[in-house]
């Protein structure tokens, strides 16, 4: 490891706040990018499963229950 101690890793000679801020924001954005579509997919599937007769011809299907 390049740094001598955990403290040195966190402070990085005064630049630690900037570096860690960027990595944390990157983590947040990546987490959002990955988790959001997974959750939305699940919501879509749950909504579809909740309405039992949605697999009908388009003309008959109730439009009020649409996504």
């Amino acid at each position: 490891m390049y740094f001598d101690s955990l403290h040195a890793l966190l402070t990085m000679d005064g630049h630690g706040a900037y570096v860690w801020l960027v990595y944390l924001v990157a983590l947040a954005i990546i987490a959002l990018l990955v988790v959001a579509p997974i959750r939305r997919r699940k919501q879509v599937l749950q909504q579809l499963a909740a309405q039992p007769n949605h697999v009908q011809p388009v003309a008959v299907s109730p439009s009020a229950k649409e996504l």
Binding site: V22, A26, L33, R41
Partner: protein, 264 residues
Amino acid sequence: MFVRRIARCIIAVAMWPIFHKFGSPPWLYAISGAILRWMLPVTLILLVIGAVWGLMFSPADFRQGNSYRIMYIHVPAAVVALAGYYVMALAGAINLIWRMKMADVAMKAAAPVGAAFTFLALFSGAVWGKPTWGAWWVWDARVTSMLILLFLYLGVVALYEAFDNKEAAGKACAVLSLVGMVNIPIIYKSVDWWYSLHQPASIKLTGESTIDPSMLYPLLLMIAAFYALFTCCLLLNMRVELLRRESRTHWVGSLAKRECSDVL
């Protein structure tokens, strides 16, 4: 017209099987699920390895000290943001020329992901600028170009949302992103030139220093990981969009019953 007809013929003869499959939502949904099942974990592991390597094991830059470690986020985000625009425009072109609905799905999925990467590149650049240049925002050529790229992405997202008819929205966004693609080199060149005209002498970042392998390898790893991440996010968003568009078909219906508990 004539060119389009010839192109269609070539596609019909040579690549029909592939295109036929890509045009099939259930197939695309299944194959993207199979890809994501291993690609997403691998991507996340690569990201962690790259970040740990860049943060803890690579040496400090002799001029910028430790603040250069932001590079491992900044450069990959910027590279992928630009590549993402081309992916989006290409998907739009395929949608316009061959009326491939899956290309439209891909384009719609790429826009917000690309915008997020562009934002990350801009944000990390701004934070990197504070210790290096002494200001949060410097009107540097690359910063300005990235800002314009973000505007281009936001324009596509805004245009898509403005249409009620989503098929028209896809085509309109395809035209817009193609116009943007033609303009990106012009914008980059002109901003580059504009900057060299106005450049204050004091904020030159680095000289023509070659990058040391101990810094290059984690950077390359992070770039690869970000490309993989972009692909994963693209596929994830495409799957949601596929389900939405095909929500009345039989395969989605049985899928909803069967694997409501599945994660990917």
